[in-house]
């Protein structure tokens, strides 16, 4: 493997997972805050709120995972190396 390509791949992998974690991190924080607020207002709705929260957290998590998939393919299955 060309050393320039491997250096660029490692930097790209770090950047892709790091940048992909920003947005979902903020989003998950907002969602969790709203869920806590909802439960504080209506404690009897805790079960349904928890289900919805977990489902939507997993959706947001998926965005980071896309970044992770890019990072992994750059590290382990790099198309630019012969």
């Amino acid at each position: 493997m060309d050393s320039l390509i491997s250096a660029a791949s490692v930097v790209a992998a770090g950047l892709s997972i790091g940048l992909a974690a920003i947005g979902p991190g903020i989003g998950q924080g907002t969602a969790a805050a709203s869920a806590v607020e909802a439960i504080a207002r209506q404690p009897e709705s805790e079960n349904s709120v928890r289900g919805m929260l977990l489902l939507s957290l997993a959706f947001m998590e998926a965005l980071t995972i896309y970044g992770l998939v890019v990072a992994l393919s750059v590290l382990f299955a790099n198309p630019f190396t012969s």
Partner: protein
């Protein structure tokens, strides 16, 4: 294919092997053998569970029948909540199979000590951490929602591409490609991420520290199974609903 060899710096306790497979040649096709072994195990387990649960059906269910009935109720709820009261019944088998198969595959990787068994190349892990498995499942969902829509509405199904306005036609067509893409990547990435995190942590600290991450992976893999089947049901609902 280039593989980062991380074992040099650690105690050879475990090994990260992404992209190493145990190849089988079956009828001119090269398949990933380690995936097949675990899939057969999972399918065998699910079939055995179903047969034991339904072999002696009684009015007052025994423990096995009761257990299987609880599972069926859970998966029926997934289909019912998404597709709706009037249309959900024919889709129960598909949604239930998807949910149980993915849950079985994920938990096979999270619960069974598969790394203890040596195979000639690669290592045994969840079948869902191979992109081929998840893409196959996602394409199956695509085929089924097209089938459901065409069967329900005939060729009128394609009218939804120009609704609400024909300007959205490219986006609506693109959606048919992004649906299986996101479905497959979500499942694949989550399961692979769980297994990699556990492997890397085990390389750093072999005892006790990876345990919470393993529990998180166990929980996350069940949530991923739920999400995959919920989304499949939602896509089918979108295709079969009538306005």
């Amino acid at each position: 294919m280039y593989l980062f060899n991380l074992t040099n710096t650690s105690l050879l306790l475990s090994d990260v092997s992404v992209g190493v497979h145990y190849y089988w040649n079956i009828g001119g096709f090269t398949v990933h053998g380690q995936v097949f072994i675990i899939i057969w195990l999972v399918v065998f387990f699910l079939l055995a569970l179903a047969l034991i649960g339904t072999s002696k059906i009684e009015r007052i269910p025994g423990s096995a029948q009761n257990f299987v009935e609880i599972i069926l109720e859970t998966t029926t709820d997934i289909a019912k909540n998404q597709i709706g009261e009037s249309l959900y019944r024919p889709w129960i088998p598909f949604i239930s199979t998807l949910f149980l198969f993915i849950l079985g595959c994920n938990w096979a990787g999270a619960l069974l000590p598969l790394k203890l068994f040596e195979i000639p190349a690669g290592e045994l892990a969840s079948p869902t951490n191979d992109i081929n498995t998840t893409v196959a499942l996602a394409l199956l969902v695509s085929i089924f929602y097209f089938y459901g829509g065409l069967r329900k509405k005939g060729l009128g199904y394609f009218k939804r591409y120009v609704q609400p306005t024909p300007i959205l036609l490219p986006i609506n067509i693109l959606e048919d490609f992004t649906k299986p893409l996101s479905l497959s990547f979500r499942l694949f990435g989550n399961i692979l991420a769980d297994e990699l995190t556990v492997t890397v942590l085990t390389m750093l600290v072999p005892l006790l520290i990876p345990l919470p991450i393993m529990c998180l992976g166990f929980f996350a893999s069940s949530v991923q199974a739920l999400i995959f089947s919920t989304l499949a049901a939602a896509y089918i609902a979108e295709a079969v609903e009538t306005h």
